[in-house]
């Protein structure tokens, strides 16, 4: 009998549709695994078991009546706890927000997954207010990396990484302002999709930096990312930046192959400040794809600096009232950066936004000659949870600020990225960013899928020690 906690979402959906397994059996298997492993991994902060059983039973009843099931029939999923879940306080990783009244409605993306017959299992741990790359949380404890529980998951979608990697959900949702889907996907050995800015609605989620926030799926296969994206995409008047047209479906595109795609390796900034194994993984992927061009990526360091300032200032402004009234309830590492963000001159953030528009123009030119770029997702494999610094290019630098040094310049331009899981020689996961032009999620997924089919990229549920 299959272990339904270790197979990808599309396999579960096919099995539920065919009647090979019931949605309730899949749900119960996941709830049992959560009960067994969550105390060790710290992935979930809330398990919505009653709601899950009710939803799974409804899916099974629908099938029994002969009705067509949705694309994600019986797929157990969970969401970062900044998504509104009706009946739960949207804590956003904080102590303060758990005093909020329970949400009255679900986040748009959650509702759309349920409309496709997926089954919500609960809400997931995260870095406080999403201002984190490590997966540490002083209020709920750290999420732990299923591939080595002494190591970080990465953040801030830490529980999303831990849950999907450990088989505590087949699909998770995260948010990505500067790298918070891509960093944990890389460190936990998952496929992660940070879509183009505006492609997926952010309605009814707790924000961080409105001009940089993205939401997206994390899973153990590229097909799962496509299924989830297709179920979730579409206009939503409740999010002012969400596109007014529905993007074309990704699922029919995933297996189209890479013929005709012009693939290059991102050079310059993206070939420094990392451990050898992350560049070796990019080179391995490039070789498998027949990509020989190395292209200098323009102004990445300035882009990262400008993203850093916008994050500090917009994040600081968002939390100013809470800093005034409940400063003692913040994680100190988050608090001090948010306070600092309130003290910076306005001209600094205006110039950062002006630079952003200029930078997007420079990046757009890159896509005249190439369709897809490859770059590392993180500068190293997962550091130890208590590790504060690492050495990059001979400099000892803080882990917390620098795990996202390769992701920030990409999200600053709003580009779609699929993080593809690879392996370091020591067996730990690492990720390669597959980057495409705005609106070309299909190109990024086609390349990631090609790597998956060749066995170069691979995600699996490890034995949890």
């Amino acid at each position: 009998m299959a272990d339904w906690t270790k197979v990808p979402a599309h396999t579960i959906a096919a099995a539920v549709k065919s009647g090979e397994v019931s949605a309730l059996a899949v749900t119960e298997a996941h709830l049992a695994r959560i009960a067994a492993l969550n105390p060790k991994l710290g992935a979930y902060t809330d398990v919505t078991a009653d709601r899950a059983r009710k939803a799974a039973t409804a899916v099974d009843a629908k099938r029994a009546r002969g009705e067509a099931l949705g694309a994600l029939a019986g797929v157990p999923f969970a969401v970062k706890n900044l998504f509104d879940v009706a009946g739960l306080s949207t804590r956003a990783g904080s102590k303060i927000n758990r005093d909020h009244p329970p949400a009255k409605q679900d986040a748009t993306l959650l509702a759309r997954l349920e409309a496709a017959d997926a089954v919500l299992l609960g809400a997931l741990n995260m870095g406080e207010y999403a201002y984190d790359f490590t997966g540490r949380n002083v209020h709920d404890g750290p999420a732990r990396n299923p591939h080595d529980t002494a190591r970080m998951t990465g953040g801030s979608s830490s529980g999303s990484g831990a849950a999907a990697a450990a088989g505590l959900a087949a699909l998770t949702l995260g948010s990505d302002t500067n790298g918070s889907i891509r960093v944990p996907s890389a460190l936990c050995g998952l496929f992660g999709l940070k879509p183009t800015f505006g492609a997926l609605s952010r309605a009814h989620t707790f924000p961080f930096v409105a001009s940089l926030d993205h939401l997206g799926p994390m899973a153990r296969s590229t097909l799962d990312l496509a299924l989830a994206f297709d179920a979730m995409s579409g206009p939503d008047a409740a999010d002012p930046v969400c596109w007014t047209d529905k993007p074309k479906p990704l699922l029919p595109e995933v297996d189209q192959g890479i013929r005709g795609l012009r693939i290059a390796v991102a050079g310059g900034y993206f070939r420094a400040m990392g451990h050898a194994e992350v560049f070796a993984a990019v080179d391995q992927a490039a070789k498998a794809l027949g990509a020989t061009d190395l292209v200098e990526w323009p102004e990445a360091a300035r882009a990262r600096a400008a993203a850093f300032i916008i994050t500090m200032v917009e994040g600081g402004a968002l939390h100013r009232e809470r800093l005034k009234t409940r400063i003692a309830d913040f994680d100190p590492e988050v608090r001090d950066r948010l306070v600092a963000g309130n003290l910076l001159p306005g001209s600094m953030v205006v110039q950062a936004h002006k630079f952003r528009r200029h930078y997007c123009g420079l990046v757009a030119r890159l896509f005249k000659a190439h369709d897809v770029f490859l770059a590392p997702a993180t500068p190293s494999t997962a550091p130890l949870i208590e590790q504060k610094t690492f050495v990059l290019d001979g400099q000892e630098l803080p882990v917390r600020a620098n795990l996202g040094l390769f992701t920030q310049p990409i999200s600053f331009a709003g580009l779609p990225v699929v993080t593809t899981p690879m392996r370091a020689p020591n067996g730990l996961p690492l990720g390669v960013q597959v980057i495409a032009a705005p609106g070309r999620e299909d190109y990024a997924l086609r390349v990631a899928h090609a790597l998956e089919k060749q066995g170069i990229a691979h995600s699996h549920v490890p034995e949890i020690a």
């Binding site: 183009t196 800015f197 505006g198 001009s211 206009p235 002012p240 930046v241 596109w243 007014t244 047209d245 360091a301 300035r302 600096a305 400008a306 850093f308 300032i309 500090m312 100013r320 800093l323 005034k324 400063i327 003692a328 100190p332 608090r335 001090d336 950066r337 306070v339 600092a340 963000g341 309130n342 003290l343 910076l344 001209s347 600094m348 205006v350 110039q351 950062a352 936004h353 002006k354 630079f355 952003r356 528009r357 200029h358 997007c360 331009a413 709003g414 580009l415 705005p438 609106g439």
Partner: protein
Amino acid sequence: MAQNPLPDPEAYTRMMAQAMDLPLEQADAAEVARNVALAFRLAASFMDYPLPDEAEPAAIFAAREQSHG
């Protein structure tokens, strides 16, 4: 921006926190000042970047302008 844009980050931080009515005494003032100084150092990389006068920030950023409604 100046070579050393913020010679006394702690004094700047104290003054601005007072102006913004933020309880700096309940935070780690030295760490806040370190973050402020880091922000000024990083911003120096783009503050003097030559942009034309007509360059404007987008009111609502859109990565795919043509489809934004």
